[in-house]
């Protein structure tokens, strides 16, 4: 391992040689073992500052008691451990860092002006740190230590075998309930992100995180630590509770540190299991909803945030403590920097922060992963902020871009041109960076990249025949239920109309009467009477025919072969259907189309760029990609959706105006795309009218820069339109 070169002698040694410094009286020392190596952790409980030193450095620091000048102590160490004792430069470095962490005190009367200055400086630095980290700002509110002390007799029960058993039982039972109701769980997930649910979700989240943080605090307390900070963290402007359980870092045993790290999630799982039981067994819709939210947050937030070691939440600390790599994030960054400096820029004096080869491997892997993840995450956050908080959001997003992208790049440029580390290799460093920059610009700016646009839509058949009732009547019998394939002439529904039957009967008797009257008139040769009677008879015959025809129409038949779709077929028996009502449709399965809605931004793309290929995937059958043969974009700005299935609430892209009950009036104009699907492909599939899915248009490839620029312009345009 390349180590930092530290010279034995320092030009500044005389400045401190005669000082009688010592560790602050309150400093506590813990011995910890990381990856088989001993370390000493110095911590001041009064201000919760930490510093980790090697045994060689501790040999010196431990001897500092303020009674002897530093020079004397150092000479003594040198005599005792000639090869390991730190050199002058290293001593200065360690002492300076200890002083900065407020762990060092001096025996002379302190210069009070300097003390105040130091305090002011520390305060300012803290403030600046908060301002820079404004997306994760922490505001301490009170000191929970006393409270935790009071509830200690209760909370310590959790760490008894009984407590563990209880936890296991509840979590297992809750887990089992959740798994056995998995389908229902998934079904309900669609509505969880709907705007109306967000407030409940947030309340549940606060409740859950409160418990989560209390879990950390209680665990920390259990093993003898103290917790002095409880407050609110503004995570992307969302207030959430937090506690400061950093005391646990000084625990000597690894499993204790791990338990404190994991306690939050443990408690969260416990609550989520209770919620699962409640959810499965409660009929009350409100309780059901709350319980579902709790479960949802506990599982999703754990998977996405807490357990993820790349974010600096619980997973990170678990990871770092489990693999015994303290200060993982910072050191991984240093390791990446070391690799880049050494192998790319050619800095010979670069040194690795790793203590062993395996640690170097971990640091490198973690560093690369965290770097990529960070880039993605920051981009997403910036983008999200820009889109969600109108107007002001743009300013904040601008600030994010400045903080997360421009400042680091600026720092890097300054480092490239002015850093002393690059003194001997600046030319090479500049050349390497220029090389990569050119490659990146070339790739992003000139290499056309595939580009696609997605839009939600539904399946709809082009050829469909409404099945109408031609004669009013009560539905007596449903021969074929919905979704059945029928052939032409198949009996679908039988209606009953007693009035019609009676009319036919009375018409028949009237016909009999007329026939006799005609006979009578013919015999008596009442020519003047005969003609009108004959006419009347003829009319009556026609009318009867008509009534009979109507009677046959009480049997509703399939107009052509296809699929009989009558969504309410099971409930229709006994209902009165007036003439002219459509009771269902027969659909030609070969004529299924996909109708998608595209918002104005997307449409602009579709009109300007050539569509190379497009395909459709349906929900529930996402594995099957259906080729689109041709598509038609309806250019007129529509405002009404053809079906509510395309709206946001049903998983579509478009926000629907809440004032309209039908849920089909859209807030923003849109375009409709009708896509003709590949007949061969859909022949083998079972498709349903209004089944939702997504269409993906593959547009003409375009370099990334151009794509990003368009996206940026669209976001800004949208913002400006809305404000």
């Amino acid at each position: 391992m390349a180590k930092q070169e530290q010279q034995m002698f320092s030009d500044s040694w005389h400045r401190i040689a005669q000082e009688r410094v010592r560790l602050s009286p309150s400093v506590e020392v813990t011995r910890q073992v990381f990856r088989g190596q001993r370390w000493f952790l110095l911590r001041d409980p009064l201000n919760n500052e930490f510093y980790r030193v090697s045994p060689a450095a501790y040999a010196l620091i431990g001897r500092l008691r303020g009674d002897r000048p530093l020079e004397e102590v150092w000479r003594e160490c040198l005599a005792l451990y000639p090869e390991d004792a730190p050199g002058q430069e290293e001593v200065i470095q360690v002492l300076s860092q200890l002083y900065k962490a407020n762990l060092l005190s001096s025996s002379f009367a302190p210069d009070s002006q300097q003390l105040f200055e130091r305090y002011r400086k520390g305060w300012r630095k803290k403030l600046r740190g908060q301002a820079l980290n404004f997306l994760f700002m922490q505001i301490p509110i009170f000191d929970p230590n006393r409270f935790l002390e009071v509830i200690r007799p209760v909370t310590r029960l959790l760490f008894t075998p009984l407590g563990v058993l209880l936890w296991l039982i509840v979590v297992a039972w809750g887990g089992k309930t959740a798994i056995s109701n998995f389908d229902a769980l998934v079904d309900q997930s669609a509505g969880v992100l709907a705007p109306s649910n967000l407030i409940y979700m947030y309340l549940c989240m606060v409740f859950l995180k409160l418990i989560h943080e209390t879990g950390h605090a209680v665990a920390c307390k259990q093993f003898g630590g103290e917790v002095h900070k409880f407050g609110v963290m503004l995570m992307i402007f969302t207030p959430l509770p937090f506690v400061d359980a950093t005391w646990s870092w000084s625990f000597r045993k690894k499993w204790q540190r791990l338990l404190v790290d994991g306690a939050g999630m443990g408690v969260e799982f416990f609550i989520a299991s209770l919620a699962a039981l409640l959810w499965a067994n409660s009929g009350d819709p409100f309780v059901n909803k709350l319980a579902y939210n709790v479960m949802f947050i506990a599982s999703v937030s754990t998977l996405v945030f807490n357990i993820n070691p790349l974010l600096r939440f619980d997973g990170y600390y678990l990871f770092s403590d489990y693999f015994e790599i303290p200060n993982l994030y910072q050191r991984a960054q240093n390791q990446i920097r070391f690799l880049a400096e050494k192998y790319l820029l050619g800095v010979r004096a670069a040194f690795s922060p790793a203590d062993s080869a395996s640690e170097a491997w971990w640091l490198t892997t973690y560093g690369v992963a965290a770097f990529c993840y960070r880039i993605v995450l920051l981009s997403v956050i910036t983008f999200y902020v820009a889109q969600s908080f109108l107007g002001v959001g743009l300013a904040i997003a601008g600030f994010c871009v400045f903080m997360y992208f421009i400042v680091p790049v600026g720092k890097f440029v300054r480092y490239l041109f002015t850093s002393d580390r690059l003194l001997r290799v600046r030319r090479r460093a500049l050349a390497v960076v220029a090389f990569f920059l050119l490659i990146a610009i070339g790739l992003l700016g000139y290499l056309p990249a595939p580009r696609s646009l997605r839009a939600s839509g539904v399946i709809s058949a082009e050829e469909r025949t409404g099945v109408f009732v031609n004669t009013s009547g009560y539905i007596a019998e449903v021969h074929q239920h919905s979704t059945k394939t029928v052939t032409k002439g198949d009996l679908l529904v039988v209606l009953e109309n007693s009035e019609l039957a009676m009319e036919i009967a009375s018409m028949k008797s009237r016909l009999d009467q007329l026939r006799q009257q005609v006979e009578l008139a013919r015999q008596q040769r009442y020519a003047s009477v005969l003609r009108p009677l004959q006419r009347e008879f003829k009319a009556a015959v026609t009318y009867l025919e008509e009534l009979k025809r109507q009677r046959t129409e009480l049997n509703v038949l399939a107009p052509h072969a296809g699929i009989w779709v009558a969504p309410s077929s099971r409930e229709m028996v006994g209902t009165w259907v007036p003439r002219g009502t459509e009771i269902g449709q027969v659909i030609d399965p070969d004529s299924y189309q996909f109708i998608a809605v595209v918002n104005q931004r997307g449409a602009a793309d579709l009109f300007t760029r050539k569509i190379q290929r497009s395909s459709v995937r349906l929900r529930g059958q996402a594995g099957q990609e259906i080729e689109v043969i041709s598509q038609d974009i309806l250019q007129a700005d529509l405002e009404k959706l053809s079906t509510a299935a395309l709206a946001w609430s049903a998983g579509g892209d478009l926000e629907v105006d809440n004032k309209d009950d039908s849920g089909t009036t859209v807030k923003e104009g849109f375009y409709q795309v009708t896509a003709e699907l590949d007949a061969d492909q859909i022949a083998g599939m079972t498709l349903y009218e209004n089944a939702s899915g997504q269409i993906r248009f593959e547009l003409q490839p375009e370099p990334f820069f151009a794509q990003w620029w368009r996206l940026f312009r669209q976001v800004i345009q949208k913002d400006l339109n809305q404000t």
């Binding site: 034995m8 030009d11 400045r15 000639p82 300076s96 002083y99 002379f108 002006q113 300097q114």
Partner: protein, 664 residues
């Protein structure tokens, strides 16, 4: 007995203002440009004219007694702090007349401008030979009347003594005592000198005295703490006994660019001898190990940056021999550090160029002034490595007690002003570091210096031959010649060559400097040839009398270009002073150190070809080469100064657990 307030001021120093970074620095440099604008000069000229008018009208007619009474009145005004605007004008006018009476010289308008600039805390750029000494006297007197301790910094002891002595009567008439502090003085003499209102000394002496005083302060370093302690303790005399200075308040720096810029790089170190340990022995072993290594195979040498880097085979070799070192030095970093130091001593530090051996001791030669710096050592490790190289058994290793960079020291003064003939190149740095705006004072009479075309040669031998030829020719004409060399070695070679030709010459360098004053006095005489290192470059005033002026005045030869253009210009400024005639010729050879160290390869090649062919325009090429190389060297110097500043900030940041006053 001294009063508590005197004691307070003795140890109170201004907190150094940090040099801003980034955007702040840009803003600061814009302010600096504004402060250097031409309007400042015009204002000074108007002021100076008014001063001369007042002196003519009000003071000219006064007799000696009346003048003394005026001095007492103005002195009193100054102590009460009411010497602003009109008061200052009156005071300056009075001083002009005193100067005329006592020294028999009437200050020019330009000198009054310079004095006013000093009063206002500006940096007056006055051409060489314009009478800076008198300007400083005028400026320091008006400041001294306020009662604060005034320090005038000169380049060397000789000049400090010369100026203080020659101006003593002038100062005395104005009611101010003048003293000087030189290297050889004992503490008591120093204390005596520091009680004077104006003290002439060198920056080294001043800083060394300041640091020694600080070491004597004792436990409570903060002046307010001391004051409180003294007020509450019955014994007033205790603490700080043995201090020699009155405190630091105002400093006027002559040749300020040299003092504030060039020499500010190396920090001044106060050290004491301490008992020998085995470190010297380790250095000797390290040298043996180093000598067993081969350049190129085991290590590589970076000449531009004076650095050694080991290759793998070198690291292996050192590892194999590590048992020869004492246990402390066996770990990989430390053993390589030690051997590297030995190689640095071997490769980059040359005897008689960077140091010389006097009475069995390594004495450092100042690269800029060419003078010896007795008692100075390089940093721990390097000095021992050089001793090991020269086979000197270092009897008394030294231990640093205090050190401070000149940069930091001069920033601690409440009032700083400077005078120099060459400041243009450093104006930006003078402003950002010391907040000194440069103002260019015009020359009194047009300059009659004739600069002859540069002579360029392919090798040093050819160049020396030509130089000696020229000297011989001029010597026969009877014109005095001053030959400026960069190194002691070069001066000795030329002296030897002249001796062979039978031309008598004086040599002034780090080794031969005993009779400096006599040599300088002789240098202007008919047919005098004086070979001097840069030590003759600054402040030396070679007086040239009538007959020599008629045949063209003194001729200055620049043997090789210096690392900074300012030093070249200083050397040229030795002749054609105050409107006298004089001539200068610069020589250049392709293997001069400036060229080999700072010129890119392709330019070196072009220069060589051009010098061999003596082609048309090679003069311009040579000039631009020198300019280019000097700029590169200046950049390196600026980087070094930046790192000194960085070191100071580093100390402030990292050693903050040591009270500020003890962080020296």
């Amino acid at each position: 007995m001294i009063t508590p307030s005197q004691r307070y001021y003795r140890n109170a120093a201004r907190k150094t203002v940090p040099v801003p970074e980034g955007m702040d620095r840009v803003v600061l440099s814009i302010i600096g440009r504004w402060r250097r604008r031409a309007g400042v000069k015009r204002r000074l000229r108007r002021e100076a004219r008014k001063v001369l008018k007042i002196s003519e009208q009000r003071f000219k007619g006064l007799d000696e007694k009346e003048l003394s009474e005026e001095v007492i009145r103005l002195h009193g005004d100054a102590r009460r702090g009411s010497l602003d605007g009109g008061g200052a004008r009156e005071a300056m006018a009075c001083l002009v007349i005193i100067c005329e009476r006592v020294l028999g010289m009437t200050p020019y308008e330009e000198q009054v401008m310079g004095a006013l600039a000093i009063k206002q805390g500006l940096f007056a750029e006055m051409a060489t030979g314009e009478g800076k000494t008198l300007t400083i006297a005028l400026g320091s007197l008006i400041l001294a009347w306020s009662g604060y301790p005034i320090h005038v910094i000169t380049v060397n002891d000789y000049l400090a003594e010369r100026d203080a002595e020659s101006l003593r009567n002038f100062y005395r008439f104005a009611g101010v005592e003048v003293g000087f502090v030189a290297g050889k003085m004992e503490p008591d003499e120093r204390r005596e000198a520091y009680t004077c209102g104006v003290v002439y000394t060198t920056s080294q002496e001043l800083l060394a005295d300041y640091l020694r005083d600080r070491l004597k302060v004792g436990e409570d370093q903060a002046p307010s703490q001391q004051l409180v302690r003294q007020l509450f303790s019955s014994q007033l005399g205790e603490g700080g006994s043995g201090q020699v200075m009155r405190g630091i308040h105002t400093v006027i720096v002559d040749e300020a660019d040299s003092v504030l810029i060039d020499e500010a790089v190396t920090p001044l170190i106060i050290s004491r001898k301490h008992k020998a340990d085995d470190f010297a022995e380790c250095c000797r072993v390290a040298r043996e190990i180093a000598m067993s290594l081969k350049a190129g195979r085991d290590f590589s040498i970076d000449h531009a940056r004076n650095e050694i880097q080991f290759r793998t085979s070198g690291e292996y070799q050192i590892d194999r021999q590590r048992h020869r070192l004492s246990p402390i030095w066996r770990s990989p970093d430390r053993r390589e550090e030690l051997v590297r130091q030995a190689l640095v001593a071997e490769e980059f530090f040359l005897r008689d160029s960077h140091y010389t051996i006097l009475e069995g001791k390594v004495e450092i030669i100042d690269e800029f002034t060419g003078r010896l710096m007795p008692g100075r050592t390089w940093k721990q490790g390097l000095h021992q490595a050089i001793e090991a190289k020269e086979g000197i058994t270092s009897t008394d290793p030294t231990e640093t007690l205090a050190s401070m960079s000149f940069q930091r020291f001069f920033r601690m003064f409440r009032h700083i002003s400077g005078v120099s003939g060459t400041a243009r190149e450093a104006a930006g740095e003078l402003w950002t570091l010391y907040r000194l705006p440069v103002v260019k004072i015009p020359t009194h009479r047009p300059c009659l210096r004739h600069i002859e075309p540069m002579a360029v040669f392919g090798s040093s031998d050819l160049k020396r031959e030509a130089i000696v030829n020229e000297i011989e020719e001029l010597h026969q004409q009877g014109r005095p010649v001053l030959v400026g060399t960069r190194t002691v070695e070069e001066s000795e070679i030329l002296a030897e060559m002249l001796k062979e030709r039978g031309v008598a010459c004086d040599v002034l360098n780090a080794v031969r400097h005993k009779d400096e004053a006599d040599v300088v006095a002789r240098a202007g005489k008919k047919g005098a040839v004086t070979i001097a290192t840069n030590m003759a470059g600054r402040g030396t005033d070679v007086k040239i009398a009538g007959p020599e002026l008629e045949i063209g005045g003194m001729h200055v030869i620049l043997v090789d270009p210096n690392f900074s253009g300012r030093i070249d210009r200083q050397l040229m400024g030795r002749t054609a002073r105050q409107g006298d005639p004089g001539s200068v010729r610069a020589y250049l050879s392709v293997d001069d150190e400036l060229i080999t160290r700072f010129l890119p390869k392709f330019m070196k090649k072009r220069l060589k070809l051009a010098s061999m062919a003596q082609s048309v325009g090679y003069q311009r090429l040579a000039l631009s080469c020198i300019h280019h190389a000097q700029k590169a060297s200046d950049r390196l110097g600026a980087n070094q100064r930046k790192s000194v500043l960085k070191m100071d900030t580093w100390v402030d940041e990292h050693l903050s657990f040591v009270p500020e006053s003890r962080r020296m």
